[in-house]
């Protein structure tokens, strides 16, 4: 790859002008030039030279090929690393962590524990402080107060940290001009990891055929895989992944879910952040929900799902009469705008039986489950930093799934 012709021409011109100046300086006339003229010539030459070299040094490859996935990065083989040492469980403890950036409090007195042997989902709207918390855990940001420990130690105190903690903060943070292989190798070498292992993780993530390509040409999905490959380099006991499924195709999402499950089953500690509730519900065993830097919920996923609102919708031409009966039967009844009754505390069958016993016709009878998104919004609603304007309905949660 070389720069386009016009660029080369401009460059040649710059060099020619420069050469002319130099020759001119050296020929006899030079001594008549005042000092300020010299200074001027050199002052002009510096920026010219720098521009020239910046232009030349740029990466002149064509922009990324939009194609991405299947051929190159097919579904990687299932997670199959040799099971080394017996899992030695590591707990992540965040204790009264506060991080301020100027007047903005990104993380506010946050405390939680991440336990080994399961996938913990770190959930919150954009700007809730997820990434900041992860950065503090990784020793990249210094906490304003409080502590964030991995296995009882600060990240900076870990011996060859990649052997302990694998992390993926931003999949797009890659050296565009460097081949994937070299990038991984550089990361591996810094922690004394060999080339064989680099090849292994490339295979594991299905990237072995594109390892020689420069990362600038990768699609987002491939970058995610490369990031995960880097996180798995030293087969670490702890995985910290920030939005690992962003940009992955369904196949990739399925792959990573399987991988995380397998890794968790080996007794490792896994913390993955996301702002997508539905994704977390399928991947995580435990949920940490935060908003505006505060902990809103710390609960097993199953419990969170079970705790979500559910009721029975019933429609009847004799709605008022039925409502009376249901209330008398101990159920909670809400009349909705369109005349339907939202019944809580009584299941579908019981509502139907009750109506039938009085000969009340029922036109519609269905159990409704609030989606997880609703439950999530109900918790985080008050703490969202960036909310859509009033053009949207006040209660997005009102969109009930039927």
């Amino acid at each position: 790859m070389h720069p386009p012709l016009p660029v080369l021409l401009v460059l040649a011109l710059v060099v020619a002008i420069d050469a002319g100046c130099l020759i001119d300086l050296i020929r006899a006339r030079v001594r008549h030039l005042p000092k300020w003229a010299w200074a001027l010539i050199i002052l002009i030459q510096f920026p010219l030279g720098v521009t020239a070299y910046l232009v030349l040094g740029r990466d002149w490859t064509k922009p990324a090929v939009p194609d991405s996935k299947p051929s190159a990065a097919g579904p990687g083989p299932a997670y199959a690393l040799p099971r080394r040492r017996k899992a030695d469980p590591v707990v992540i403890e965040v204790d009264r962590l506060t991080k301020r950036f100027g007047s903005v409090t990104a993380v506010d007195d946050l405390s939680f524990t991440v336990r080994p042997g399961m996938v913990t989902g770190f959930l919150g709207p954009n700007g809730a402080g997820k990434t900041t918390t992860l950065r503090v855990l990784l020793g990249l940001n210094a906490p304003t107060s409080g502590t964030a420990l991995i296995g009882g130690r600060r990240y900076q105190e870990l011996v060859r940290p990649l052997h302990r903690v694998g992390s993926l903060l931003d999949a797009t943070a890659l050296p565009a001009g460097r081949p994937a292989w070299s990038h991984l190798l550089a990361v591996a070498q810094s922690n004394g990891i060999g080339r064989r292992r680099v090849r292994e993780v490339l295979e594991l993530t299905g990237l072995e055929t594109v390892a020689a390509r420069r990362t600038g040409q990768f699609s987002l999905g491939m970058k995610q895989r490369l990031g995960i490959a880097a996180a798995l380099l030293a087969d670490p006991q702890v995985l910290l992944l920030d939005e690992p499924v962003n940009g992955l195709d369904p196949e990739g999402i399925f792959w990573i879910r399987k991988l995380l499950r397998a890794v968790a089953a080996e007794g490792r500690t896994i913390l993955i952040s996301s702002h997508l509730m539905s994704e977390m519900a399928q991947t995580a065993d435990h949920l940490l929900i935060i908003g505006r830097g505060r902990l809103l919920a710390d609960t097993p996923t199953a419990e969170f799902v079970a705790g979500a609102r559910h009721d029975v919708l019933v429609r009847s031409p004799r709605a008022a009469e039925l409502a009376g009966l249901l209330t008398a039967g101990g159920a909670g009844v809400n009349t909705e705008d369109d005349g339907g009754l939202a019944v809580t505390g009584m299941d579908q069958a019981a509502v139907g039986d009750l109506a039938a016993s009085r000969g009340i016709a029922v036109h519609e009878l269905m159990a409704r489950h609030a989606s997880l998104e609703e439950a999530y919004l109900a918790i985080t609603g008050a703490s969202t930093d960036y909310r859509a304007g009033s053009a949207l309905p006040e209660k997005p949660a009102a969109a009930v799934v039927r």
Binding site: I26, L56, G57, R58, R135, L138, L140, S190
Partner: protein, 275 residues
Amino acid sequence: MTASQLQDAGRAVTAPTRLIRARDVLSSEWTKLRSLRSTRWTLGAAAIVTLVLTAVVAESFAAAPGSGQRAVPFDRLVTSFLAFAEYTVLPVTVLSVLVFTSEFGSGLIRTTFSAVPQRRTVLAAKAAVTGAAALVIGEVLAFACFFLAQAILTGKHGGLSLAHPGALRAVLAAGFTLAACALVGVGVGAIIRHTAGAIAAAITVVGLLAVLCLALPAPWHTRLGRFTLPFAAYAEVSGHQPAGLLSPGLSLLVLAAWPAAVLAAAAIVLTRRDI
């Protein structure tokens, strides 16, 4: 000694005891440096342009009417390094700035610092690798420039040989200057983080400060100027000590002091700031 004690001793030897090994970080940085194609491109172009312009300069110096002693600002030694001073020093400085700023720009620096949380170790490794590469390139090119220029001058006014007093020092110092400028670039990149600003600052230290000093009134332009990198380098490479400048020995100190100061500042700044 019991068996278990022996076992313990064995484990103590095999388990890594230090947080990070310098050799590992060095090889990692070396991989990074050599795997960028644009680096090779830029260096190749710089070398070619430098050699061509050195030949051009030597030719025109040789052709100048009554050159030799009368061409005051240019003695035969300095002539060898005129093109080197611009077309090698500048691109290498820019590339060195990019060593840090490119990682800050792409966010890759977080990967680097989570692999090696000891930020000063990373700084030292980057500086060592970049400085060593610059030193090798600088010495090779400096020798090439010297021999090329002197070969062209030989026909006309008599070129110098390496045995000429000061010649060897000048050539070695030219290469060393390149390493010093590269280290300044690495340090400035770590401090300023943004490519454009860092390049502007590095170029100021490496070149423009001297130009600004030139514009000062009479005694002051050398009194201050002799502490800048270009003047120190000039004192090293000129055959006879120019008036007002420091001696070659002291100039060498100046050449070493700039990168040392910038890297020290970088070490302080790097550990204090969030990434």
